[in-house]
């Protein structure tokens, strides 16, 4: 399996994140303050485009190299606690750093090198979750 195509798609994604200012702390503030349509327009049309693509792939019955149908494995809902609680914790971090994981990495390369600390701290956060996982409600 060659990794180059994934690197290239990631690069395109990185370029878009910077050029559309999705990486901007200020745009995230505008979003959480409901002062601009920009971020909602981006997320909304991204969801719509992805949904149409998924439907098309399903309709056409496109299959992968092993013959399996293309698509996502459905997330186990359970009590839903992990999604609400985890989502809220992430949302707090999103507001404080002004960046979700993709932009966090993009910002390190786009002129805010101190974001490397936030990235390493995020690794610490994930590690801590892994450690506490058996004790947390899911």
């Amino acid at each position: 399996m060659t990794l180059l195509p994934y690197f290239l798609i990631g690069s395109a994604f990185g370029v878009i994140l910077v050029e559309a200012e999705v990486v901007s702390w200020f745009r995230i503030q505008e979003m959480f303050r409901f002062d601009a349509f920009h971020m909602y327009g981006i997320i909304g049309t991204a969801v719509l485009t992805a949904a149409i693509s998924l439907l098309t792939i399903k309709r056409l019955g496109v299959r992968g190299p092993d013959g399996e149908p293309l698509g996502f494995t459905p997330k186990v809902l359970g009590t839903g606690a992990r999604y609400l609680a985890g989502g809220t914790v992430f949302g707090l971090g999103w507001a404080l750093t002004g960046a979700c994981p993709g932009p966090l990495v993009a910002l390190v390369g786009a002129g805010t090198p101190v974001m490397l600390v936030a990235f390493l701290s995020a690794l610490g956060g994930t590690w801590t979750y892994g450690r506490l996982r058996p004790k947390l409600p899911h």
């Binding site: 399996m1 994934y6 690197f7 798609i9 990631g10 690069s11 395109a12 994604f13 990185g14 878009i16 994140l17 050029e19 559309a20 200012e21 990486v23 901007s24 745009r27 503030q29 505008e30 349509f37 971020m39 981006i42 909304g44 049309t45 991204a46 719509l48 485009t49 992805a50 496109v62 698509g71 996502f72 459905p74 997330k75 609400l84 609680a85 989502g87 809220t88 914790v89 992430f90 949302g91 971090g93 507001a95 002004g98 979700c100 994981p101 966090l104 990495v105 993009a106 390190v108 390369g109 786009a110 974001m115 936030a118 701290s121 995020a122 690794l123 994930t126 590690w127 450690r131 058996p134």
Partner: protein
């Protein structure tokens, strides 16, 4: 530096292009679009410490995702060199709110008064960078996805779990914006 086009790239171009990453990754190798899993893969690579959550075969399962992550970094470097973002035209209401919070330099991609090495051990710098980063890593791992995994992939796939997660994203985001940032930044 020349500017290839006026900034920002409009939402109606950026959004659909980001949405197309989903079918691109599926067609390429049936991979689910998501960024936060890389934190888990990197923990597994660097410090698994016998923890079950990090006992997966990160090279086989996460290799493509780490290549994708490296691409994001490279793309951001190239984009900021070739066509650096211009001064933001921020909404007047947000501008006023941020001035009130004591932020005066609203240029660049992040407030220089907060996201600088020199601010790292001030209250606003430490909370924004160190605590904020920690919460991003903890929260995405707990929720099993971030903006790309839940808000874009999951919602597009009509998954109820992702809708719950996105509700959480906004609950946390609003609490951070209206309750925590005013204390931290002032």
């Amino acid at each position: 530096m020349s500017h290839l086009f006026t900034h920002p790239l409009p939402w109606y171009i950026a959004g659909p292009l980001i949405g197309l990453v989903v079918p691109a990754l599926l067609l390429l190798g049936n991979k689910p679009f998501g960024v936060a899993s890389n934190f888990r893969h990197l923990c597994a690579a660097l410090a698994p410490c016998g923890i079950e959550f990090f006992s997966h075969d990160w090279k086989r399962l996460g290799g493509w995702n780490l290549a994708f992550l490296l691409g994001i970094f490279a793309g951001a470097v190239v984009a900021s060199e070739v066509a650096p973002p211009l001064a933001l035209t921020l909404s007047p209401h947000t501008t006023a709110a941020l001035h009130q919070l004591g932020l005066h330099d609203l240029t660049g991609l992040t407030p220089h008064e907060v996201f600088a090495w020199a601010s790292l051990f001030t209250l606003k710098g430490f909370v924004s960078i160190v605590i904020g980063g920690f919460l991003v890593g903890f929260g995405t791992a707990y929720a099993g996805g971030c903006t790309s995994g839940h808000a874009i992939s999951g919602l597009a796939d009509l998954q109820p779990a992702s809708l719950l997660a996105v509700c959480g994203f906004f609950a946390g985001g609003l609490a951070g914006t209206y309750l925590i940032l005013p204390i931290v930044l002032r």
